[in-house]
């Protein structure tokens, strides 16, 4: 069954029939995780780097921000039996407007924040497709861990 991960949202699953999909990643970032041993998958679609912007919104919508959304995604996957050592992490999004001055650099800051969080926690990114000005769609097959990325009308396996 297909489950849509909306913006500022995350979902995890251990049902091999499930697909987690997130549409229209612009400057937002999609984080897909999968544990090949217990076959648990998860996906996060966060919109902004730091919860300090609005602690109140972060409390109610942890998936809105990188620094609250990423821990929430991993915790939910651990609850389903996934383990940090086994989890494979893939990332997409972080697009930018056509911008000579770098004023509207939410996409870039979203990505930098993610790298910082992963670095602090000793997590490596297995594969990624970030930047540019395209809209991206990510789809994770929970049963096989196959992650596809659709952008510019083409689909690739990430």
């Amino acid at each position: 069954m297909e489950h849509v991960v909306d913006i500022a949202d995350f979902k995890v699953s251990r049902d091999p029939q499930d697909q987690l999909v997130t549409y229209s990643l612009g400057s937002c970032i999609g984080v897909a995780i999968w544990d090949p041993v217990v076959r648990v998958g998860g996906m996060l679609h966060y919109m902004l780097p730091e919860s300090s912007l609005s602690p109140d919104k972060a409390r109610r919508n942890p998936a809105m921000f990188a620094d609250t959304g990423v821990p929430a995604l991993f915790r939910a996957a651990y609850e389903l039996g996934a383990s940090k050592k086994q989890i494979v992490v893939k990332v997409a999004g972080g697009s930018q407007l056509l911008d000579d001055n770098g004023t509207f650099n939410i996409g870039k800051r979203n990505y930098v924040m993610l790298r910082k969080i992963f670095w602090k926690n000793g997590i490596l990114i297995d594969n990624e497709d970030v930047g540019g000005s395209v809209s991206r769609t990510l789809r994770l097959d929970v049963g096989t861990g196959r992650l596809t990325l659709k952008a510019r009308g083409k689909e690739i396996v990430l």
Partner: protein, 302 residues
């Protein structure tokens, strides 16, 4: 003049117009001397829309303890701004809900984008003390109206438009202009002219991708431009034109806005958009979020 261009211009004239009451309402909103009674008078003229708006006001979402039976009552209970938002959303939803294949927008996506820009525009207007929040909402709602006409021409020339974007580093709207002779901004502006919409709305439709061309600058147009940037960045109703739109430092600076202001407006817009969708979901099948099934053990989505 090429056949395509003549065709496009003919389509502008033959687009089903917005209801007369919607246009009169915009003119009333545009006039700072208008009273709430005058606004109610204009809305009430369209009985179908009034009935639908009252139904929305009585939806479970608002949790009213008693049934709202008149527009004046709705204005008191929910506030004029909110009622006007509902009325304008009802007026435009049929026109904006269809798929726009040329832009890669599935049914409902253009409407979702338009409502998001409308919400972000009213928040931005509030942030820079622009005054007329309801007019900013309406301008946001209609900013992409040109796409409804240009859609099929974009579909025909899509590969060429995308080639120009990629090879010549053009914004998508600039490539439309280069390949088709018209952009969705210009076509939207012409539609707004034909409909005789208030001048600030026409201007913001016509320049919502590049307000820096306007001399002197128009803070109302800036507002719709920034709202559109926020929604493109956040991917709300994002199509094949993606983020191929120009960011402008100057527009931020001349309105005294920082990046954190945009982030705040964006975060609040998303929460407001969910509320609007909840209100409308109760009435139709425009749901964008399927309910989670048994396989999903944990979901966070408030």
């Amino acid at each position: 003049m090429s056949t395509a261009i003549r065709d496009i211009l003919q389509r502008v004239g033959s687009l089903p117009p917005l209801p007369d009451t919607a246009i009169r309402l915009m003119n009333v909103i545009n006039d700072p001397r208008s009273t709430v009674d005058e606004i109610v008078e204009v809305i009430r003229y369209d009985q179908a829309v009034t009935a639908e708006v009252l139904k929305l006001c009585n939806s479970a979402y608002f949790g009213m303890t008693r049934t709202i039976t008149s527009l004046s009552e709705a204005m008191v209970c929910l506030g004029t701004v909110k009622v006007l938002q509902l009325v304008m959303s009802v007026h435009t939803s049929a026109l904006l809900s269809k798929a726009q294949i040329g832009y890669g927008l599935a049914p409902g996506m253009l409407w979702r984008h338009s409502v998001a820009v409308a919400l972000a525009a009213s928040a931005t207007a509030q942030r820079i003390n622009l005054g007329n929040v309801s007019l900013a909402f309406t301008a946001g709602l209609l900013h992409d109206i040109g796409k409804v006409v240009l859609n099929e021409y974009v579909a025909e020339e899509f590969l060429e438009i995308v080639r120009r974007v990629r090879e010549e580093k053009l914004a998508f709207v600039e490539a439309e202009q280069a390949v088709l002779g018209y952009s969705h901004e210009e076509i939207g502006g012409r539609i707004a002219d034909v409909w005789k919409l208030p001048q600030p709305i026409i201007q913001s439709i016509r320049h919502h991708h590049d307000p820096t061309r306007l001399v002197p600058p128009d803070p109302f147009v800036d507002t719709v431009y920034l709202a559109n940037c926020i929604c493109l960045l956040l991917g709300i109703g994002l199509g094949e034109d993606g983020l191929y739109s120009r960011a402008s430092d100057a527009v931020m600076q001349r309105n005294g806005l920082k990046e954190s202001d945009l982030e705040n407006i964006g975060a609040q817009m998303l929460l407001d958009l969910r509320k609007v969708e909840q209100i409308f979901e109760g009435q139709s099948n425009r749901s964008t979020r399927p309910t989670p099934g048994p396989g999903v053990e944990h979901t966070h989505d408030s």
